[in-house]
Amino acid sequence: MKLESRIPSGPIEKKWDNCRFDMKLVNPANKRKYSVIVVGTGLAGGAAAATLGELGYNVLCFSHHDSPRRAHSIAAQGGINAAKNYCNDGDSIYRLFYDTVKGGDFRAREANVYRLAQISVGIIDQCVAQGVPFAREYGGTLSNRSFGGAQVSRTFYARGQTGQQLLLGAYQALERQIDAGSVKMFTRREMLDLIVIDGVARGIVTRDMGTGKLEVTIADAVVLGTGGYGNVFYLSTNAKNSNATAIWRAYKRGAAFGNPCFTQIHPTCIPVSGDYQSKLTLMSESLRNDGRIWVPLKKGDARAADQIPEAERDYFLERRYPSFGNLVPRDVASRNAKMVCDEGRGVGPGGYGVYLDFADSIRRLGASTIRERYGNLFEMYDRITGEDPYSVPMRIYPAVHYTMGGLWVDYRLQSTIPGLFVIGEANFSDHGANRLGASALMQGLADGYFVLPYTIGDYLANTKLAKADESHVAAREALGNVENLTKKMLGIRGKRTVDSFHKELGKYMWEYCGMARTDKGLQFAMGKIAELREEYWKNVNILGSNEEINQSLERAGRVADFIELGELMCRDALERRESCGGHFREEWQTPEGEAQRDDENFSHAAAWLYQGDGKTPERLVEPLEFEYVHPSQRSYK
């Protein structure tokens, strides 16, 4: 199989226009004859379902939550980028494009990123019109702030709850379509298999998590907006129920998985406090605008922060990266924090933490300004740690936050299975090897509101689909597959809980496939994960039955998939013998300890094609060409 990226011809600023013009349209009267399944109701899925409904398609929308509004996009704090140049500080579509390609360490498709930057402008307009209460200046215009990896202020925000407000905008648009009857919403449904008929994605198998009933739904196309897979690591900033099951089962049906090893470790999270810890909490990157990151100069300095004089502090980001300072991209900030902690200069219990200090800003701007900017974040920190960040510096440490990898998609967001579209974090597209802050919301909404609704129309207009329903042999096979898997899991009745497996997997992944990776470590982890997988299917203990609300069973399926995905991530990390963005192989670093790319051999996206259980998947390659932004050693000095 060859990966067809279907990048349109023409100069980069014309590609999306050309593409849209070349696409076939579906007559308004015909749209209602098509049905589209959308799985996931986050920024991407929610926006897509609402927009497809507005256009007149019959949309069948699925969420594993009790309400579409709970999708984890809601937790995004900092903001959303857009090349509006409202601040008159030199921003432009081209600059946003440039920053994103560079921030992604030259491992993203230029055409996609340019389109994203173009669309970013319309997203803000759309959200404002929906009633998203973005922060405003006294004159009534929209307010902006700066964010990591950029030297302009282009981030729009709604206090520390930007994701929430954008998601509620999409959710409300979705509810409007539900009320109008164009979207049929199925809540508490988990997608457990993809139905492929004659090589084309036609439906899904879902489990009603309220009753256990397995259901088959057939449509003309399937859209996955099911988010990222950061929970492979057990501890991450993802929500507890965020999972990879939908994309993983699609992978097993033939959708190639792009760059699985590209994970983002976010530098500013609250450090782990004990082994009962269930998740990690992010402190928005926007805090780095006014907070200064430091550790003691001396190893093992046990003095309280305020007892350490200025001269004995190491503001290591400001020291090493004078031009970007505390605002270096996330991968750089995270790696540096790990480095100083590995040197034994970390702070807090366990020594895995660095200070994020607001004392200077409070002196300069006053506590009330700081409160207005970050009040809710400070409060959250206080609630979790019991410490008051107005008087003592925050302690932060990196944590898994986002996965740039995901199902491989072409320019039109279609996976390697025709009719299966993947949007938002679930796909691998726009961020390359590292995502810039405030770009995830941008991508999710761009895909959902403005890209997918066009490209799916072209697919439907150009494809002649055979009639199919639930009784189709492929549908019955998929349903049987899910039934067997469920039965198998419930029949094991072993000794270990699902969570204990998940925790163990997370430990291997964080240790060997986290911020720094080595050939040896990855091989070791793959061995361990294979053992874990074997034990899982012999010794996991899932109580209860399928025909009820069974949260252990829900988790069990997800963890089984995480174990397999974890192995693929290690495999991908092992094969990518270079360092780039969030993927740091210790063998490939510059003398200063920065990531060293190998453009000659690895200027490509890797996509893995499933070959059957127990078989090594095939590594496909999509070469990346950089016509506009020429690959260089990223420098934030």
């Binding site: 009790d66 309400s67 709970r70 019109a129 209460p133 648009a173 507890k240």
Partner: protein, 257 residues
Amino acid sequence: MKITLHVWRQKDRNAQGKLVRYECPNVSEHMSFLEMLDVLNEDLTTKGEDPVAFEHDCREGICGSCGIVINGVAHGPMPGTTVCQLHMRHFKDGDELYLEPWRAKAFPVMKDLIVDRGAFDRIIAAGGYISVPAGSAPDGNAIPVPKEDSDRAMDAAQCIGCGACVAACPNASASLFTSAKISHLGLLPQGQPERYERALNMVQQMTIEEFGACGNIGECEAVCPKRISIENIARMHRDYMNGAFSARPNAEAGSAG
């Protein structure tokens, strides 16, 4: 520390529920409340007993999934805090806690501490939106919005839809939830065209869902994790009355075409 729990256990929608006593002998003060339940569930599973079902997701206090009435207070004793953000350092050794689900006719219990809050979605679907199809928006700065209006809209828009207001209200009223959305959209210029119809339709849906009436008691704002004010409820009443009395007889025609 040691905590004793009395947890509402109910097998499914139709089963009779009851409070069951559990001991949590090794609770760390750094744990969150839900982490304590995680540990309890791991123990129960190991012992072969059905773990306690409770809803949760982001554990950052923003998704609105979690919600438990702890000793008669929705989301427990810390003001402005969801259960997932509540930490055990606020309890003391030997505490005895009663954990119950949100109780309202409109929120039927599905299992243990999980309730069905679909009624909230239907209230939003009835009018909690601004009708603006993708692609039709003017420039974001085309309509200036006074900062104060925008800030107040944001205060209301912070609602996480957890349902604590309903749980805490002696009348199981959904007024705070409904009014927060009516205020959020009604305070912005973009929300004006549908302002009164929105209030009418959302209040009507709230009535159909069989929530109780607001008695201006104020328990809702006291337990609201986002501290949404009952000033919004007055605003809802105002917009509702305006919609009910000032609409012209032919308003039914709507916007066909």
